[in-house]
Symmetry: C2
Subunit: 413 residues, 2 copies
Amino acid sequence: MKAEIITIGDEILIGQIIDTNSAWIANELNLIGIEVGRMISIADQADEIIQAISDSFQRADAIIMTGGLGPTTDDKTKQVLCDYFQTRLVFDEDAYKDVEKFFRERHLEVNEINRQQAMLPENAINFPNPMGTARGMWFTKDGKHLFSLPGVPYEMKAIMQQSVLPELKKLSGSQYIFHKTIMTVGIGEAFLAEKIHLWETDLPSFIKLAYLPSPGLVRLRLSAKGNHPEIVQNAVMQKVKELEKIIPEYIYGFDDEPLEKVVGDILKDKGKTLCTAESCTGGYISHLITSIPGSSNYFKGSVIAYSNEIKANILKVDENLLKEYGAVSQQVVEAMAKNTHQLLQSDYSIAVSGIAGPDGGTPEKPVGYVWIAVADAQTCKSEAFHFGNQRMQNIQRTALSALNMLRLMLINA
Amino acid sequence: MKAEIITIGDEILIGQIIDTNSAWIANELNLIGIEVGRMISIADQADEIIQAISDSFQRADAIIMTGGLGPTTDDKTKQVLCDYFQTRLVFDEDAYKDVEKFFRERHLEVNEINRQQAMLPENAINFPNPMGTARGMWFTKDGKHLFSLPGVPYEMKAIMQQSVLPELKKLSGSQYIFHKTIMTVGIGEAFLAEKIHLWETDLPSFIKLAYLPSPGLVRLRLSAKGNHPEIVQNAVMQKVKELEKIIPEYIYGFDDEPLEKVVGDILKDKGKTLCTAESCTGGYISHLITSIPGSSNYFKGSVIAYSNEIKANILKVDENLLKEYGAVSQQVVEAMAKNTHQLLQSDYSIAVSGIAGPDGGTPEKPVGYVWIAVADAQTCKSEAFHFGNQRMQNIQRTALSALNMLRLMLINA
C-alpha cells in the first residue's frame, strides 16, 4: 500500500511554522509497512485542496491530510472535503458531548465557535479526539482512502494512534519494510564514508544505505524491503554486525536513540549519578539530560555559571585561574568539573566553557573555541574543540561532544 | 513570481528527519515578494525527481530544490539534473580549489569522494558554498529557473543568502506581500477568537488572518497583498493598532520574536540581571534565555535543583518546608526564588517546581501540576498551573508561563 501526506496551511507555505506532522506520520506508516511516496504542503484554499487530492489519488491508495480543521474562520478544509466527497455537514450528538466534556474539564463554557466542531460529514466515519475538539474523519471513494486530521501535533498523534493506524493496518497489504539506523558520533560524513567504503560496496541490492548528518552526529540508515520479515531483518542485522566490527569506536547506539538517553541508561545501570557545570551551553546539556523521562534517578542538577562571578563564588574556581588563563581554558574547565562534582555530591560531572558567539571571540580564542571536562572521583579528562561560527550549532556540538566524552569515560570505567 | 520548493531525500519520506529547509526558504522568498505555492518532498530517485520538476514547472516560475548533493553514493540529484537540463558534469577548477581549502582549514586531506564535489554541470551557473563542499547550481530552461542546493541546513542557508536570494530578487516581479504576526501568550485559540471576533469580521478583504497555536502561545498572522507597499503596510498596521487596544494584556511582541528575547530586551534596557532556579524544567528556561546572542549581559546563571538535596543544600530551602509541603508547593518555589536571587546576586529570579511526567504524579499533585515564582528584591509573586500529561509540553509551557510572569513583573515595575 502506498500513501501520500498532505499538510494544509498558509502558515506552512509562508514558512512561519515547520511541518513536523509529516515526519511523524511517515515514521508510523513505515512501521506498519505503508510506504510514503510524497509529502505535499498546500494553501488552505478550496481549489488547491481539491487539486492536491486528485493528484495524490493518481499515485497512491491513501492520503493522510492534516490541518485546516480548527474552529476559526481561516480553516476551510472540512467543507471542501464534503464537496469533494459529495456529502454535507450534519450535527453529531456524540461529538458535541465530547466538546462539552472537553470544556467542562477545563472549567470553561462552550462558545458558538467551538460548537461548530460537532458539525461533521454525513458520509464519513469520524474519530474521537482525546486531546482536543476537532475530530478525525475517514472518507472513502473508488477504493481509495482519505484520513483528515487536525494540524495541532498532539491532537493529530492521539487520533492517529487511537483510530487511524489500527484501521490502516487492516487495509494495508503484506509488503514488509525494515529500517535500521546506526547512530555515530565523533566523525564527519565523508571520513565515515571512506572508512566503510568496502562494507558499503558489498551491500546486497535490496538493502539501501543513507547518510544522515546533523550537527555533531551522522546517522547511517539501512532500509530493506521484502515479503518475508525474517529474511529481510536477518540480512540487515548481518550487515549491522559487520559494521560494528569496522567502526566500534564511533557507534553509540541505534534507531534514533538520543545520546543523552544512552548515557542516562549507562548511569542507571551502574547506579551512578551525574551533575553538570555549564557556561557556554547555558543549561542545554542539563535540558537534554532531563528531557528523558526518569532522569531524576541519575541526574542531580547543575550550576549554570554564565558569569565569572558564579564560577568563582558558587563553583569556587580560583580567581587567579580565571585571571591568568581566562574562563575558556583547560585549567578553569577542569576546576569547574572537579568542584561541581563535590558541591553537588555526584559520581560524575560534565563541565563546559567556550565562546558560543556571535560576539566574544578574540584571535587566540575565536568563536567556536570550547573546553570540555568530564570527571569522576579519581580522574578528570579534558579536551579542546574548534567548532564553527553558528551560536546554536556550537551549543549543540558542545553538548554532544561532552555527552560522548562522558559515555567513553563510563564504558571504559 | 511564484515558486515551489522541492526537498529530496528518503530520510524525509520515512520520517527520520524533519524538513526544516522548506520553512526557512519560504520565509526568505516571501520577504522578497515571491509566493510559495507548494512544498513537495520526494524520494531520491531519478523518475521521481524528473516528474516533480515537470509538475512544478507547470504551476510555478521557479523551483528551489534541496538535498541529494552530498558526496556519498546515495545522492543522485546532480546527475539527474544534468539529464533533465541536457548537460553533463565537468571538472571545475575553482570549485576544486574551494574543496581543497575547506579541508586544509580543517587540517584534513581531500579524498576521492570529496573530489567529486568539483564535478559540476557544464550549462549551469554554480555558486560557492561558504560552509561546505557541495556547490549551489542555477539551471534555466524555457524562461523557468531551478536552483539546486545542498540539504544540510546551514550550507543551504549560506548559499541562499550569498547567491540565490540576490539573483531571485532581480528576477521577481513587483507584487508585494506583507505579513505581520502578533504574538500572544496566556489565552487559548478559541477564547482569543471570541474576544477579537468583531475586529476580525471588520478586516478588509485583502487582509487575511490566521491563528497559529503552539504549546503556550497563539500567534495571529495578518497577510496582505498588493502593488503598493505603503498602502498595504498602512492598512495592516492600522488593524494591528486596533488589536492592541482590544487585547493589550495578551500581546507580548511581534513577528515571531521569542518571549525570551522580549524579556531579555527589557532587562537590558533597565540594566537589570536575572537568574533561575529550575526543578521540573531541568535547565530549559536557562537554555531559552541563553539561546539569545548577548544574553550574558543580563543573565547570570542558574541552579538546576533536580534533586531535593540540591534544593536544601545549595538553594538553602528549609528542609521542614520540603517535608511539610513537598517540593511542588508555593512555599518551596517561593523560597527557591528568594534564595537564588540572593545566592546568585541578581536583580530578578525565576523559580519553578512541578511534575513534568510521565511518572511522579499523585491524586493531589498530578502530572502537569506546576508552581512558578518570580521575585525581585522587594516582592515575590507565585502561581500554580495545571498543564497536561505530555512531558515536553509541560516543560515548554512552564518555561513560557514563567517568562511571561517575569515580563509582567518587569513592565509593571
